[in-house]
């Protein structure tokens, strides 16, 4: 379809386009683009600028420090440990959530009775916030005292109460953090897998049945390969979400304004660096830029390895 305006005519006619199309495009898309420009693009550019300046307690750049903030961040042991925390967290959360949500999807998909009920039950935690989940996990299930649910259960087996969130050796807090997020997220990814399972042609399973293949073989040679695109998307989403972990770390581990030195994922680190007592926006911005670049690198790398978006049929 030809989009260009007629060659002749006044500038206003040309700006408006044929049938005023340009004008209507501006009316429909304009507000959104303008908002994006002001509330996403300008802050990001501003942040990149600030990252080269010394900006304590002020959002206007004062003293140019070049790459100083970046060097400080990379030299900062606690910033590096925040990245390590993310890697550890991702190593726990990505595979477990993947397996649990895939498992639930396979089970729910084959259930002929009460299928909607089970789907709803597993999906329901999606409506819950990290704050509420943290509250139940920290004060009820994994509270480090004898009356906590988990310690009560352990007590039945004669095991002494465990201080789940306040000991670093052994680091039980990982179990608390990972299970909370898994409970919140597994149902959402289960829905994605269910959608993927619906799209697998029944004729593939019929062919497998004729060949006498069943159980694991069907899963291994039909279901999993057919779910490849979904799996890639789920992995990528899990990883991106893990990188942005903040809510449950903050709510599970901090107490009355204090945060323990261990288990600070990058966003918690940035929160305290930029908005803590120093209001150090220069370093905070440099950290945000480093993080963004890292996430982009990981996403690209994963894309290379797994081939997201590659057409498969």
């Amino acid at each position: 379809m030809s989009v260009s305006a007629p060659a002749r005519g006044s500038i206003t006619t040309r700006l408006r386009g044929r049938y005023d199309r340009n004008l209507w495009f501006a009316v429909f898309v304009g507000p959104f683009v303008l908002g994006l420009l002001v509330f996403v693009y300008i802050p990001i550019v501003w942040s990149v600028v600030l990252s080269f300046f010394d900006a304590h307690n002020t959002v206007t750049p004062s003293k140019f420090v070049g790459l100083g903030n970046y060097l400080d961040m990379i030299r900062d042991a606690s910033f590096r440990s925040s990245l390590l925390t993310f890697i550890l967290f991702a190593l726990f959360i990505v595979p477990t959530t993947f397996v649990v949500s895939l498992g639930l999807a396979l089970l729910v998909n084959r259930a002929r009775f009460a299928r909607t009920f089970f789907r709803s039950v597993y999906f329901l935690p999606t409506a819950c916030s990290y704050v509420v989940a943290s509250l139940v996990w920290k004060l009820s299930i994994f509270s480090g005292v004898r009356f906590g649910l988990m310690n009560t259960v352990l007590g039945w087996f004669g095991i002494e109460p465990i201080a789940w969130l306040s000991v670093t050796q052994p680091p039980w807090y990982w179990l608390v953090i990972v299970t909370a997020r898994m409970w919140l997220q597994a149902g959402f990814y289960m829905i994605l897998f269910l959608a993927g399972l619906q799209r697998i042609s029944p004729s593939l399973y019929e062919a497998a049945a004729i060949d006498g293949a069943g159980g694991w073989k069907v899963l291994r040679f039909i279901t999993l390969p057919q779910l490849r695109a979904t799996s890639t998307a789920v992995l990528l989403l899990l990883l991106i979400n893990a990188f942005q972990a903040f809510d449950e770390f903050y709510n599970l581990l901090s107490s009355s304004g204090q945060y323990p030195p261990y288990a600070r994922p990058p966003l918690v680190y940035l929160y305290y660096a930029a908005l803590g007592q120093g209001q150090d926006f220069g370093h905070g911005s440099a950290g945000a830029v480093v993080l963004t670049l890292l996430i982009a690198l990981i996403a690209l790398g994963q894309n290379r390895v797994l081939g997201l978006g590659r057409r498969e049929d």
Partner: protein, 282 residues
């Protein structure tokens, strides 16, 4: 679906499946039960050395105590959360719906460039931008205001992207019939497209509402003042406080999830459909 082979051993397999599903369901529902149980208990019940499945008596008065406690701005926080979530949901539906339709249907020479401009922001992890966004919003003087909490969340690139994909697949015949009448884009959109897209709009609306109601990092950063707390911030503050009134905290959390659970039960079908149609897993 996957139940072609039906043999004797499959019956046993089916029983095992239901046992696993059932046990899993209990574990997934347990946290909801604990919220209610603790919320309707006394402090002594919760901290009793022998764990109780049911509270000895149901303390419904915990609810009125919560709302009459002057130290806990619960009512205010709930109202703030409701206003923010409703305005953001309506705003996102209008702004992203219009943009998605424009991108999908109105021929414009630079439409592709505009589309890339939008999609590029999806690659930037939203939470990482909290530092620059704080810098901008605070320099506008919007700290601890509803504006500061609401406005930056109105421009959701992902919602626009989903609307565009959806409108690309919207049957053109319906719109063409209207356009023969001489109805322009504006009229076609509101009179033909919107009424015929109720399901998808409900899906995006529900997802936006949940995200807005449950948002934590942005309200934490931008609303330090008690009057502008959202319900999540209020809960978090009591959760990390030095002295905690356990039943009060749990009943507050139960009240905080109530609107979403109700919404979820009624709109789940559309959320699932919306997620499935989002094309994430294609």
């Amino acid at each position: 679906m996957a139940n072609i082979q039906r043999s004797g051993s499959d019956k046993a397999g089916s029983v095992i499946r239901y046992v696993v599903l059932g046990v899993g369901a209990v574990f997934f529902l347990l946290p909801f039960y604990l919220l209610l149980r603790n919320g309707l208990s006394t402090e002594a019940d919760i901290t009793s050395p022998t764990w109780k499945l049911f509270p000895s008596t149901l303390h419904w008065s915990n609810i009125s105590d919560l709302f009459s406690d002057p130290a806990v701005p619960m009512a205010r926080s709930l109202v703030n959360s409701l206003v923010i979530a409703v305005v953001q949901t309506v705003g996102v539906l209008v702004i992203s719906g219009l943009a998605g339709y424009g991108l999908a249907r109105i021929p414009f020479r630079y439409a592709n460039a505009v589309f890339y401009f939008i999609v590029a922001t999806l690659l930037i992890p939203a939470a990482v931008t909290f530092v620059p966004s704080f810098v901008l919003v605070s320099s506008l003087g919007w700290v601890s205001t509803l504006r500061g909490l609401i406005v930056p969340g109105l421009f959701q690139a992902f919602a626009t992207f989903l609307f565009r994909q959806y409108f690309l697949n919207f049957p053109r015949e319906l719109e063409e019939a209207a356009q023969l009448d001489g109805t322009a884009y504006w009229g076609t959109f509101w009179r033909i497209v919107v009424p015929n897209s109720a399901g998808f709009i409900a899906a995006i609306g529900t997802i936006t509402f949940i995200g807005s109601w449950n948002a934590f990092l942005w309200p934490l950063v931008i609303a330090p003042d008690q009057n502008s707390w959202t319900v999540q911030i209020a809960l978090s503050t009591f959760l990390t406080a030095q002295t905690i009134n356990l039943p009060q905290l749990f009943i507050a959390a139960s009240i905080a999830i109530l609107p979403l659970v109700v919404m979820f039960v009624f709109l789940q079908r559309w959320i699932v459909e919306g997620v499935e149609r989002s094309g994430i897993s294609e």
